[in-house]
Structure formats: C-alpha cells, structure tokens
Symmetry: D2
Subunit: 461 residues, 4 copies
C-alpha cells in the first residue's frame, strides 16, 4: 500500500552548489528537514579530518543528506517517465514507492555523530543503530513527522535503510554499489575538496539506470559511464579518503579520546576533569535504547570546544594531543609491507627512547577498500553486483565486461602506514639531546617506506 | 629596504577548489599558516548565518585567507612580469614589496572572531584592532614568525592592513574597491553558496590591473571586466549577503547574546548561568590590550556548544532563542519604507499582545551597501576610486565611462526589513487564542511590504 | 485541438556541453533533426566572424537549435508540473501545446544561411521569410515530417515563429525578451567563447517562470535572477557581439561580397568569374517563393571555398579582401561621436591618398542594442515587457523594480566606429612613400577616438 | 646557443575556454599565429566526424594548437621557477630552450589537412612530412617568420617535432606519453564534446612534472594524477574517439573519396566530373616536395562543398554516399571477434543481395589503442615510458607502481566492428522486396555482436 502525502502547492527549492538546486515537492520532506535531529547534521562535517589536508572540505552531513534525497528524487522521476509499472509483476517502477525512497535517502545518515568514525571506534557507538532509533523512537521529531504518513511508515523507512524492505529497487537506490549515497558523496567531496577525481557523469548514470525484477541495473550502453564511476570511486579513496595526513590527524584524535577515557577511568590524584557532555561516553553509560539525547547533544564543535580547554590541563599527553589536533600538527608516516612489519617494534622502541609514550605517539593504520566486489552466494553480507542489461534483456555482471573493473574487483586497495611524531625526522641538530635516536630512526625510512637499514652492526635489532 | 626570506626549495601547493591550487614559495608563508592563531580560522565560518539560507556556505575564514594570499601572489607575479620597476620613481612595481604584501594578504582577517559581526555588535569588540594586536604583540606565534624577517616587519604588515604603509600599490592590493580580499570572497562565496552571481572573471581582471605612481589602476581595455566585477558584487550583496533569512537568523543570534548578557548582568534569583569562556565578554572585562586569549579561545563551535546547553535552561526566552537559532526557526519579515515606518510600533504592540517580549521577538534591520563609491576630497575615509588608464597614460575614473557603475555609484542599495515570529502569520485556527491578534497583524502586510490596512475602523492606530 | 504524436519508447539523449544532455521524447523531434534542412545547420556558424576574436566560438546553429528545443522542453515540464491548466480559461499551461512549442523552438533558426547577417545585408535575403518557407513548403523534408502530425501542423509551427499563434505562452517561450532562444545563445556563446559574462542562472530562471493569462511572467522572488540575465545580455553585447575585431572582419566580408557583386554586374573585359553557387544571388535571381535550393546549397564552407580561389584572381581588390578575410587581417578602427563624425570625410580622403579605394577600405559601423525595452502601446512592433507576479497575483513591470534594468531600459547601448586598413597606422618608416599621409591620418586618432588635431594649420580641413 | 627574440612590451592574451587565456609574450609567437598556414587551421576540425556523434565537437586544430603552445609555455615557466639549470650537466632546465619548445608546440600540427586521417588513408599523404615541409620550405610564411630567429631555427623546430633534437626535455614536452599535445586534446575534446571523461587535473600534472638528465619525469607524489590522466585517455578513446557512429561516418567518407578516385581514374562514358582542387590528389600528382599549395588550399569546407554538388551527379553511388555523409545517415554496425570474423563474407553477400555494392556499403574497422606502453629496447619506435622520481632521486616506471596502468600497459584496447546500411535492419515490412534478405541478415546479429545463427538449415553458410 502506498502512502499519500500532502503535495506542496508549488515545489520549493534549496540552492546547492553540487546539484544546482534541491527540488522539494512534498510537505513531509520539508517537515523532516526542519526537525532538530536533521538540523543537527549542519554541525557534523562530512569528512572529519579531511579538511586538514583539503581545506575546502568543510561541508557537512546536512548538505550531503539533501543531495542523496535529490538523487533519489531524480531516479524516481526517470523511472516513472521511462519504466512505469503497468502490472504488479512486470518488474518496473511503482511510483507509490517514491515517498518511502525519498525519506530513506534523506534520513540515511541521520544517526551520524561527532567525528563519526573515530568516535565510534573509541566508544563503541553504532551510527547505523542510532539511525534506526531516530527513525523509530516515538520521542524524536523525525519519527513524529514520519508517523503522519501512517503508523508503520517509520518502520518502512527504517527497513529500507537496514535492507529488509521487500522492494529491492528502493533498497538499491539507497544502498548498493552504485547508489544515491555514494554518488552524492563522490560528487560532493570532489566539489568541496577541489580534487576532481570524483567527478563522474551523474546525468549519464541516471539515464542508463533502470529497474528490473530484482532491483536496479544499467543499460549496456552505459557500461563506460559505470566503469568511470567505479574508477572515480577508486581514485577518491586513494587520493582523498586515505590521504596520509588526514589519517594522521584521525590517529591523533583517536589517541586524544583514548587518553581522555583513561583519565576518567583512572583519574590521577588531584586531577579535575569533567567534560560534562562527553561523560556518558567516557564512563560507558550511554545506552541508545534508553536515551538518545547524550548522543544528539554532541557535534564536532562540542568536541573541539572540549579539546580547546584541554590544552591548558596539567596532563601533558592530553594537552599536547589536543594542541596537535586543533593546531594541525600531524604525525609523519611511512608505508610498511608484510616484510617490513616486523621492524615496527624497533621503531616504536626508538620513539619511546626519544621520550614519547608510544601508546599515544606511535600507531599503525591499514586503510583498504574494494572499489567493487562481486557477490559470493555463500557470503550474504556482500554487495549485490552491478548488472548490465543487454538488448535482449539478458544481464551481464560488470566485471565480466570491463577490464578496469575486473582488475579492481574484490581487491583490497590502499596501504598500511606507520605513524610517528615529526620530531623523529629532525636532522643536523648537534645540540639536540635525542639526535642519535633520531638518526637511528631515520635509517629505517626510505622513499616513504620502512626498510631494513644497510648496516645495523652497531644497532642490532 | 626589502626583507629577504628563505625561499622554499620547491614551491608547495595546497589544493583549493576556487583557485585550483594555492602556491607557496616562501618559508614565512608556510610558517604563518602553521601558527595556532591562523589555524583557529578553520573554526570560524566566513559567512556566519548565511549557511542557514545557502547550506553549501560552510566555508571558513581559513580558506578565504589562503585565497587572498594567492590572489596577492598572482598580482605580484603579473606586476613583476609586465611592469617591473627600473628606477625608484617610475611608479612601477618593486618586487621587494612582495613579501609584506603576501603576508598582509594572508593575515588581513586574522582578528576575526566567532560569529564575527554579530558578536562585535553586541560586545563592542573590534576585529580590526585585534588583527593589529595579533600581528604586533610579541606573545603570538604570528608575531614570532614575522619577526624573523626583521624587527619592524610585523609593524609593516600591520601598517599595510591599517592603510598607513607608504607604498599605495601594496595597500590597494589588500584594501581598495577592487582588492584581493573582495575578489576572493566574491568568488569563494559564489562557489560555496552555489549562487553564480559572484563569478566574475578573475584572470581577466588580474591581467588588466597595473601599478602606477599612485597605486593600482586598470587598462582601459579592461573596462568591461571591472564593470562586471562591480555588478557581481552588487548582485552578491542583494542576493546572498542581504538575504532576509540570514539576517533573520542574525537577529535571533544577536537577541540571544543580548539575553545572555542581561542574565549575567541581572541574574534572576536562583538562576545558575556560567558560560565560562563567554564570561569575559558578558561581564565586559575583555581588554585586547591586556590579553588576547579570551578572544582567541572562542570560535563558532564554542558558541554553538553554549547555545546547545542553554536550550535546557529555565529562562524561557534564552532557551527559546537558542533553540530557534540551532534548529533554524527564522523570524519572518517584511520590507518597510520611510512612509510605512511609523506603522512599526503598532506591529510591535501586536507582537506583544500575542505573548512575545518585543525586546527579543521584534526587530528592524537596515542592510545597505554602496557597490562603488567615489572619493570625495573632503572625506578622507572614503575609498579611492577605480581608475582606468587610457592609451596615452591619462586616467579616467570608472563611473565616468561605465553607465551601469555610474547608476550605482554612491548609492545605498539594499532594504529595511521588520522581523517578527512566524507564529504571527497563522491563519484559520479558530481554536487559537491569539487568532484575532494574528488577523489584525496580517492586515498590515501585503506583497512583502508593510501597508496601511484598508479599513482600520475597529482597530485605530 | 492538440496533436498526438508517437512517443519514443524510451527517451533518447544527445550529449551537449551546455545543457549536459538534450532529451528527446517524441519521434517527431528525432525526425526533424534528421532532415537535410536541419543537418545543414551543422555547416553554419552561430556567430559568423566572432571566432576571429574568440577562437573557441566555432559552434554552429545546429547545436544552438537543439539547445533552444531543450529549454522549451524544460519550460513545458516545469509548467506542467507546477501550473497545469484545469479549465480552459484559468490561464495556466495546457500541455497539448507542448509539441507545437518544441517544434517551433527546434526550427526557429532553420532559415539561417551562410554568414547570415552579412549575406542578408548585401543580397537582401530574409532568413525569417525563409524559415517560414522551409516549414510550410511541401517539398522540404521538414514540412513532410511536420505534416505527419496533421495537415495544419506546419502552419501552426510557422505561426508560433511569426508570432501570430493564438497562445501567447507558446509564442513567448520562443520569442520574447526572456525566451528560450536568447537564453540558449547567451549560455552557449558564453561557453564557447570562454567569455563568462553570459553565464546567468538558467535553473533559477526556469523555476521562477510561470504561465498566466497573457503569456509568461516571473515570480517576484525571481527578480534578481531576471535582472542578472538582462545584465548578462548587456555584457555579452558589449564584450562579444559588438567586439571591434569581429565587426571589422564583417566589414571586410561585406565589402568582399559587394566587390563580387559588382564584378558580376559589370565584368571587366576578359575577366572570367563564375562562382556557380553564388550566381543566383550575385545576379539577383533568387526567389524564395520559387525555389529554396540555391539558398540551401550555401553554407559557410561554400563561401570560404570561393574566397579561397578568389585570392588568385587578377582583380586586386577582390583578391586582397579575400585574403584579408581568410587569413585574418582585420581593419583597425576608432570610435566616433556625433561631434567627430564630420571629420570622417577627411579621413576617407587620406585613405584614398594612401592608395586604398575607400569604397572597400573605409567604412563606418553603428552597433547598438537595447538590453531591455518596454512596450509602447502606439508601437505594436516592440517587445512585450517582462512582468513580475507579486504574492497577491498583481503584476509589476521589471524596470519599475530593478534599478539596473531601469538604467538600461530603452537605451541604445553600443558604439559607432570608423574602420580603415592597419597600414594607416604605420610609423617611423622614412622609406615609405605614404608616410606623410599616414602621419597626417594619425593626428586624428587618440585614445580610441576620432579627434580634431591640435594644429591643423598646414593641413586645412 | 639560444636565440633571443623580441619580447612583447606587454604580454598579449587570447581568450580560450579551456585554458581561460593563452598568454603570448614573444613577438615570434604572435607572428606565427598570423601566418596564412596557421590561420588555415581554423578551417580544419580537430575531430573530423566526431561532431556527428557529439555535436559540440566543432572545434578546430587552430585552437588546439594554441592550447599546446600554452601548456608548453606553462611547463617552461614551472621548470624555470623550480628547476633552473645552474651548470650545463645538472640535467635541469635551460630556459634558452624555451622559444624552440614554444614554437614546436604551436606548429606541431601545422601539416594537418582536410579530414586529415581519412584523407591520408585514401590519398597516401603524410601530415607529418608536410609539417616538416611547412616549417622548413623557404616559401612559406611560417618559415620566413622562423628564420628571423636565425638561419637554423626552422630546422631546430622541425627537429623537435621529428624527435631528433638533442634536448630530450624539449622533445618530450611535445611528444611523449604525457605531452602538451595529448594533454591539450584530452581537455579540449572533453570540453567541446561535453564528455567529461578527459577532464584530468592539468594543474596538478604540471606541478609534479620535472626535468631530469634524460628528459621529463614526475615526482612520486604525482603518481595518482598521472594515473588519472592515463585512465582519462583510455576513457576518451573508448567513449569518444572510437565511437561507432563517428567511425561509421568516417567509413562513408572514405568510401566516398574512394568512389571519386575511381570515377576519375576510370570515368564512365559521358560522365563530367571536375573537382578542381581535389584533382591533384585524385590523379596522384600531388608532390609535397614540389609544391605544397594544392594541399594547403584544401580544408573541411572545400571538401564539403564538393560533396554538396556531388549529391546531384548521375553516379548513384557517389551521390548517395555524399548525401549520407552531409545529411548524417550513418551505417549501422556490430562487433566481431576472431571467432565470428569468418561469418563476415556471408553478411557481405547478403548486403550484395539486398542491392548494395559491398565495395562501398560494407566495411570492417579495427580501432585499437594502447593507453600506455612501455619501451622495449629492441623496438626504437616505441614511446619512452613515464618515470616517477622517488625522494632519493631514483626512478620508478609508472606501470610498476600503478595497478590500473599496469592492467592497460601494452594492451590494445578497442574493438573490431562490421558496418552496413541501416536498411538491413528493417523489419515487418511485408511489402518490401528484400525483406527475406534482411531477415536472414538479422539472424546473424545479437546484442551488438555477430553470432552464428541458431538454426541455419534453410540458409547454409
């Protein structure tokens, strides 16, 4: 059954630099945008620490969410214009599904929080679970608005996002290997960073996209547009999302939060430390099934505000990491491979010798992504493959026909890096106490790699 | 005398979506960017409340400052390539001035603070004075870096910004009617808002710009490019900077800060209210000549963090205004003219009748700007005019030759608006206690104007 | 009554750099594009001699015509989505008019010929009349395709273009002061020249456009977008369409055709000259009511081919002008005003003294345009004004509310220039026979203006 | 030894939509642009028949040549700023080479002719040889201008283009796997077609490019920018340059010229056919060592002019092919593989049965390109590899470090297609004499491939 909703008398528009305008045609979309849970997304950056590398990347999850909605709206328009369902079983597009799809697109990131991924990692929160809660808990404004379209409408929207909704076309619009979410973030991150690599051809993709019985596929003539999109995604991962400096700042952030956690768990004598809004997380008392508010009160600015005051606290590590984070003093890094990984303990020990607590001043990070992967029947969790429809209606899986995609299919692309304070790279400072330690450390680095030093006779491993 | 500074071995670049890349060729520029005072600009939005109207406008003074530097750098390159000075009095470009120009471009906004204009208005701080202090006070990192180029170098940079530097060419690069500051913000605000109006032709402007004895002028062949820039500026003012919704949010912000000030000055019995970082301002104890730190500790996120907690406080007005600000509940507004201004007290009284304290829920705002003005000898404060150089070397003032510019010259463009809560526009709610008040109020509004109601017999003015 | 036409099963697209894609949804549009009369437009440049100034401007009337169609299509979509007619007299949009509007948009320039404006001027052809003929003459492929939609369909399309069609909304889409034609050419000429001045905000214009009882108007909230469009148009005229160098090349072209005409009318003894495809025009025998073919066989390349061979002919003037045109040797020029116009005969006589036949080597050109004009009831020929609709449905004429537009309204903007061979500007060539003549000539020029020389005692006027 | 040339007093600019402006700083560049041989490039399209598929692609070799010059100029600027040679053997950039590099960039395509590749293929002309001739033959304007910089300057420029110049850095700017030529055409073709695939990051490439002892290499940090450029090139080949419809139109053009050749070689009785400007080629009498003029007199418009008149000639094949070409009636096509190639004779015979002379109405085309190839010592003709310089100065060949590039290295990407008249695809026309032949033909086609029909019992192969 479809929900009917109040149409706006005339469509409204929101100016957006990526899509030119966001077109709003239904009252429910306007209402959801105006909820406090959605407005909160204005205060949460889309790319966390990436703006430390690409300073233009100051955009938020608010504009991204609008963008995903807009792409979903355009897909629905295209489907309704070119592939309207005539019978329940023809596998074409049923426009009664439009509203649930548009709402799911708009709300798919509603549960994201301050410095989302790092925060989750340290405090074991789960933005996907929180998204579900915000949509389905009666106390949120989002839920109240959604309920106006029917008592089970919130659950439907939530089910689209958690992929249990019966209509695969709607699910794949929001989450698949070529969905509105990924398409918007590639374009948007490309626009705001200024890195042009994510600038694939959205108009063309939308126009070769089509519904079929089991979801969404692409016309064969769109092969190159889809291929280009996959390559764009790969490029954005390697050049933007996995940039060494952003990862370095993320590590500093993680270690800073970890230090705060430990100071709350084991407070030094006489150390006064009451970051009120963070306490539910530092004391592990936050329960999204009880009360979402502690989570919803946080945003990037709130965390930065705490970090700013921590710079003055007597705990040297906390103060130093807070200052490194706010004032952008990234760690340096080098790649390591399987063969050079065993040298890391030696490097860590040198960092320790130089006076840095390695729990906070040395770290490894493995950033890998599969630009495209193919469904393995035994592994239900994996993504559905991208299918191309030939003239006679038969389907061809993307990597079967695209050389570039086949090369990347199922492959973990990225690198593993070892991070350490920039101080370890100092040279020629005869007056520096730790210079011999630094010199020793530097023997292990060459051309952005950890290496085994040529002669280590005087410094056995 | 010129300062020589350490050249970078190879130039460094920062990716920027507006200028493609920012090119950094001197160590001092790199060093200044890395100071904590400059990094702080990452947390201060360029356009304050504009992102409530144009959601893409989430960019900060950090990227704008880099952009101004880059334009200054390009002007210097162009001048040195095409108009290098041969003799001290030839009125051409002396490249020894480059470093002071570039530093001034980079630092011209270093004194801006959280929600700058509104904050200044309420707390009587002065970002220009603070800019001078940050540059010249020995305790700042900025000053320490600048001093490396000579003991009087900081003062020189400060003098460029306060327009007392002897070389007019350097001053006009940074502040004149067609300077690097304005050029960057028009392009940048245009890019991030998505409003295309500010998108004038920078490359062309740079290329028709030239030094002369009394500053900077433009080749006659660049007339249209300069005209287009002035029109762009005019359009951006009317369509972006003076947008009614952004002004409405600014009014809410101002009233919120005003309420906080009054609660600190005259705390109600039992009301606990300690916004620590704001206290120096709420208690009027901040003195930039003593200590810049209280100012430098603030940023947009810090203020938002306070606002977020204020939503829960028992003061209804403070809590309501904080919520309206964070959750984007703008006031509505109408234009008024000289003739309809006398009706405003009547409207204010109706707002009062409807239960809103008009000190916080009614306001007028006059936003006017002169897209271009011409120097009046009797008024030293005004801007130097834009001069065009003809083939024979004689100068022609811009408004003498451009019809469009002449139309706008010295004219205050903008409007005056009256702001009030959206609730005053409710209709048809028979159950609503205040409906008769609302109905009365609405008689005074028509086509975005205050009007005198047709029949006011039952409601005498 | 509306024509129904075969819908394409799925829409087709043509890639276009200005609109991203042209969407084709009806078989008739595809068929019209494939006619030989329409394909001919591929060989006729949109901007004639402008590519001699802006080399990128190599685009043709073919792509422009597709672009006009696409804008019409988008206007119809917007009208049908937001303002669908419910009753015959509600003044809203009747989508049965879509096909006639789209066809008229596509075909509005179908009668343009080789170097259109100059050719018309010399040979007294009329591209508007020929457009009507191509649409209504049974022998054209265009007419044959149009007739498939009904015997009177061609006449309807022709009537839209000649402005006698009953539905004013359809007429104004194609020809008014803010129509699909002007909108496409501003954007397109801007894109291909690289001059950014024509880059107004199409998306915004389309969205504030609306049908009303007497045609098309704009929502009041679109005031600035419309104003910006008018200013863009003004800028494109002054900076691109009226560029002195393009006009200079146009004068050379006109004089070249004039010379050819005179050589055919009065052939010198023994001069063999048979430009076959041009003869119907050089001998004034072309009659569009009889046979369109001579006209349709011409295109820019055909004319250039003749010019190329004319370079070798013994007539010095023909050969020289042909070479100046093909190899881009523009005349130079200066502005003149009412006061300096009387000096022109003196300049012409000096050109003559220097050995140039002034019938072909001296010329004046007045290029003026009204960026916006207002309907005068007594003058039926003028354009309908642009109307803005206020919230209460009342209309306001654009120049009443926009200062910039009011400044330009009804004003002829442009200039008058005098053109002459570059040789007249030679200096310092003592060995040059004509140097005294050149020197004399140059006394009359200063700062791109004709002037009265300071001392003319030895050279009385 | 370096040539010194007259510097322009102030740089001149030409507006260009791809590079914004072309900056001209030396008189020689201005002079070369103004030669008739260079101006001729305005009448030769860059992409031949591609505008039949991407209608925006109407740009010419004139603007491309300016663009290549501009990129060379920017590379020289960057090299001189960051890598100026200090000693003759340091492997850095010697700015005395600038002029020869810039001239070679500007002139590298000067020998291209009308519908270049197809014309060469049919008439065995060689645009590279003609480029050399235009530069070195004393009678050309180009040569006369170049000689002003020294008697051996033309030969130097020619040697850069034919790759025998001693300075490898100069050669590689103009021709290598990442040269100014390729970079400009990718960006330019991308801009004018509207296909975004060629839009790599020029600014970034220029900035990671550097000179070294054996030519030009790239900094390791530019790996991804170079990789993206290679992928862009690959995408442009597959999606634009090898587009089936453009190839189809090229085949029609080739067959049309072939038919003209045969009609001249073996004229039917009474057939009058005198395409004057083409005769030197149709009679195989053109000798570039004798006289370049016949070649220089041709351009795309000249050929189209002949084609236009040929439509009316009594030779049915010539007239039909001319009409198909001018009015865009492409052949249809299908891919074939090694396994299905043997079926082509059968298809050809069916085309013959349907009344089409297969010499002109059936054709195969193999379009393959290697996006990147690696130098094999035994094969001197191959391109130098792209080298990346690591921090310690050692070099790494691109495909060693980029997965995507490695995938494409040395691989022929493209396809083989069989072309035939669209008529062969007619269906359901019971009244059509040839319908059984068409039906039979269509059995061999499926999903854009030649296939072996399922049941061929009634039609043995």
């Amino acid at each position: 059954m479809a929900y009917s909703a109040e149409k706006l008398n005339q469509e409204k528009v929101i100016r957006d630099p990526v899509h030119s305008h966001i077109y709003i045609q239904d009252q429910i979309i306007m209402d959801l945008i105006n909820t406090k849970e959605f407005q909160r997304l204005r205060r949460i950056h889309q790319l966390g620490t990436t703006s430390y590398t690409f300073p233009g990347a100051e955009h938020t999850r608010f504009t991204h969410s609008l963008g995903v909605y807009e792409i979903v709206r355009r897909i629905c328009d295209h489907f309704q214009r070119n592939y309207p369902s005539q019978t329940p079983t023809d596998g074409l597009w049923d426009d009664n599904e439009r509203l649930v799809a548009e709402c799911a697109g708009l709300l798919h990131d509603i549960g994201h929080g301050a410095y989302s991924h790092t925060f989750e990692h340290i405090f074991h929160t789960d933005h996907e679970l929180i998204t579900q809660k915000i949509i389905t808990s009666p106390e949120t404004e989002v839920n109240q608005k959604l309920r106006q379209l029917g008592p089970d409408f919130p659950a439907k929207v939530a089910n689209v996002i958690n992929k249990t909704y019966p209509n695969q076309q709607v699910i794949q619009m929001i989450s698949s290997q070529c969905d509105a979410d990924r398409m918007d973030y590639l374009l948007r991150d490309s626009y705001f960073t200024g890195a042009q690599y994510g600038n694939f051809d959205l108009d063309r993709i939308l126009q070769v996209m089509r519904p079929y019985r089991h979801g969404i596929c692409f016309k064969m003539s769109g092969l190159h547009a889809v291929e280009y999109y996959i390559v764009s995604r790969y490029q954005m991962y390697l050049q933007v999302y996995f940039h060494r400096t952003s990862r370095s700042m993320e590590i500093i952030l993680a270690n800073l939060l970890k230090r705060a956690y430990e100071l709350v768990q084991n407070p030094p004598a006489g150390f006064k430390f009451e970051p009120t809004l963070l306490l539910p997380f530092l004391t592990e008392q936050f329960d999204p099934n009880q009360d979402l508010n502690p989570y919803l009160q946080l945003d990037d600015g709130v965390l930065n505000t705490y970090f700013s005051t921590w710079q003055e606290l007597p705990d040297k590590i906390l103060a130093d990491l807070a200052s490194r984070f706010l004032n952008r003093r990234p760690f340096k890094s080098v790649q390591f491979k399987q063969a050079t990984k065993p040298l890391i303990p030696k490097l860590v020990s040198l960092i320790n010798q130089a006076g840095f607590n390695p729990n906070y001043y040395a770290a490894t990070d493995n950033s890998y992504n599969q630009p495209y992967d193919v469904y393995q029947p035994q592994n239900q969790q994996q993504n559905a493959p991208i299918e191309l429809m030939q003239k006679d209606g038969s389907l061809l899986e993307l990597s079967q026909t695209s050389l570039l995609v086949r090369t990347m299919t199922g492959r973990d692309l990225g690198d593993s890096r070892f991070f350490f304070p920039k101080e370890m790279l100092r040279t020629h400072s005869d007056l520096e106490l730790f210079q011999p330690v630094y010199d020793n450390f530097q023997q292990y680095l060459k051309n952005d790699q950890i290496i085994r030093p040529k002669e280590s006779n005087n410094e056995p491993n």
